[in-house]
């Protein structure tokens, strides 16, 4: 679902289809479904056909029943009901369904003057739009308010050494922790079974089949065992300025995970999104570093998580993200972009994937609370919100992965 369109958007979309008015219920129904589609709801043609078939069974002069029929046929998501209601009220409000037979229902054609009135007339739609716009403006000013900026220092109240000051020893330890995590994910057991030479239970169907050649006597047993679920991981790393002190660790992490596991895809983002899977598919981390820094734009720049996620959802998610995909987002959540967009994209992402894990290096700081708007918007869609700032936290991440398996 998209962000809620304003009243004005709804009215103007409805107005675009005003030509069908007076052409009978089917034309209106089709137009109505088009309006819903244009406003971002997913409505399939088969659903529209079923809706029109359904109308034969109810008395459409009863507005409540008419509404129920359209709703149950065209919508299949609770979150979409609110928008549907608004469009329904707007689209069908001029229509009085009286006792006349279906085909001859007269639908009043809203004249241009009348609809002009509509847009700023009763219902306070214009005021609402203005109010919305001002509140958005306020949001933005609040974002810019220096009071909201992080008063954060990486050494603040951290008990163990931070990744920001990591040496060779630590990077070895990180490597080991990553291996642990990787093996946890890679050996996730599915509840589905496959045939196997040494499985734990007998597969009767295949045992029978295999033993037909012995005249039905059971000589060979076919067994089955649990399949290993191949979990795909998509890493989305924030490499904006605020994450600078962690970037060395980040690269290590991305590199480590991708080279230990099957099916890891890696992306970095700041103001835009770059896929770097192919750049770090190598055994030589030194070269990988060079290649990344030369090809990623906006390294150490600003952050626009919403926009980056939008790009990801549109271009990559359809082919990369399935119900078995774990999304690992690494970011401090300081977002300078549109919060509404970010929330919407998080929702879309959540809908596609298996789990979302957000790793936030700031989370380790005692004084840190996820107050910034970006983080707030994302929180409801996270399955795990963990800290990554030192090796211990990585071990904790490993444990979380184990939970995912259970």
């Amino acid at each position: 679902m998209t962000t809620q369109p304003s009243d004005q958007e709804i009215i103007s979309t409805v107005k675009r289809f005003s030509s069908v008015r007076g052409q009978g219920i089917l034309a209106n129904l089709l137009a109505f479904s088009r309006v819903l589609k244009d406003l971002g709801l997913r409505v399939g043609l088969s659903q529209v056909i079923d809706a029109s078939r359904s109308l034969e069974f109810v008395d459409i002069t009863l507005r409540g029943d008419f509404y129920s029929v359209l709703l149950s046929n065209l919508i299949c998501e609770k979150e979409e009901v609110a928008l549907f209601d608004r469009v329904f009220d707007c689209f069908w409000k001029d229509i009085t369904l009286d006792e006349e037979p279906m085909e001859t229902i007269e639908l009043s054609v809203p004249g241009s003057e009348e609809s002009q009135e509509e847009s700023d007339g009763p219902g306070g739609s214009l005021e609402e739009v203005v109010a919305q716009a001002t509140s958005q403006e306020e949001d933005r000013t609040q974002d810019r308010d220096p009071f909201f900026l992080p008063t954060y220092s990486p050494r603040e109240s951290l008990n163990s050494k931070d990744f920001s000051e990591m040496g060779i020893e630590e990077s070895r330890a990180i490597g080991r922790a990553i291996l642990l995590i990787a093996s946890k994910i890679a050996t996730q057991m599915s509840r589905r079974k496959k045939r196997a030479l040494k499985g734990d239970e007998i597969d009767p169907r295949w045992t029978m089949r295999k033993n037909i050649k012995y005249g039905g006597d059971i000589i060979e047993l076919v067994t089955r065992k649990r399949r290993i679920k191949k979990t795909r991981i998509v890493l989305l790393c924030d490499v904006s300025g605020s994450m600078d002190c962690y970037s060395r660790f980040l690269i290590q992490f991305m590199y480590g995970l991708q080279n230990e596991l099957w099916g890891v895809e890696t992306f970095v983002f700041s103001t835009s999104l770059t896929r770097i899977t192919h750049l770090i598919r190598t055994k030589d981390i030194g070269n990988a570093l060079e290649r990344i820094s030369s090809s990623v734009q906006g390294w150490s720049g600003g952050t626009n998580i919403g926009h980056s996620l939008h790009t990801f959802n549109r271009e990559f998610a359809p082919s990369l993200v399935t119900h078995r995909t774990v999304i690992v987002l690494i970011s401090d959540g300081w977002d300078r972009g549109d919060v509404a967009l970010m929330e919407q994209e998080m929702r879309n992402l959540k809908r596609r994937c298996y789990k979302i894990i957000w790793l936030n290096p700031l989370l380790a700081s005692e004084n840190y609370q996820p107050l910034c708007k970006g983080m707030q918007a994302a929180l409801p869609y996270l399955d795990f919100f963990l800290s990554v700032h030192n090796v211990h936290s990585l071990v904790a991440l490993g444990r979380t992965m184990q939970k995912l398996v259970a």
């Binding site: 109810v58 029943d65 149950s72 046929n73 079974k193 169907r205």
Partner: protein, 306 residues
Amino acid sequence: MNPKKLSIEKIQEALRSRQYICDRSLATVVYLSINLGKPVLLEGEAGVGKTEIAKVLAEVMQTGLIRLQCYEGLDASTALYEWNYPKQMLRIKLEEVGKGDRRTVETEIFTEEYLVKRPLLEAIQSNGTTPPVLLIDEIDRADMEFEAFLLEVLSDFQITIPEIGTIRAKQRPYVFLTSNRTREIHDALKRRCLYHWIEYPTFEKEYEIVMTKHPQIQTHLAKQICAFMQQVRQMNFYKRPGVAETLDWASALITLHREELDEKSMEDTMGCVFKYREDLHHLKSEVAGKKLNLEGIFKDPMEFQT
């Protein structure tokens, strides 16, 4: 009840007579589903009566209820059919003794007699006067593989068994799918269904439900219970209580011969409403912090309808 002579009002009335109180929109969806032969997808919080409506409808239509409880790893052999292997083996052994004809045996052990029918096949093959109600419960618990497989069955209402052939439904069963939304159901499956979200009931509806299910209850007690539930559902609990909990609680209080609700009896019976330790703690703190106005609810429940 004759499916051809149904109307929305009749369905609502019939469900009500079997103690299922539903609003007109749900009755409309059920009515459409019967007429269109389209499955219904019911979503809603736990304990709002998603499963119940299928059971009650089966009673109303005087037909069988076939239930398929979903779980992760549910596969075709548990949902559709399985060959009865022991029986097949026995037959083979018997034929060996009697020097039977190999070809006849081969064809005969793959007939319906040797088939173990699982819920989906059973629902499709049923040939009573009225089609059965097929309840596919908690579809969100099954995995994507099963969902895809279900898609095939629900769109054509036919099942192909390689050894026998394709079995077509003589009459489409009334299909109800329920989901608790622990994960998203695939769009393709959703599109083949009529969708209905069951909300928590309003005060009036819940009161009516309690009075229908427990006619012996004191009206004041019923009002107190419902007012309490309405308030609690607006608060931040891990698991908000559903109608099932309301009814459990009501019957507990009736068993204890309570005619009115007071703080003591509420505390004693809270286990019926909240099933998590954290929630019980949370309730205590809300009561202590006066966010939940118990006295008010007990004294004048009608004031706390929303």
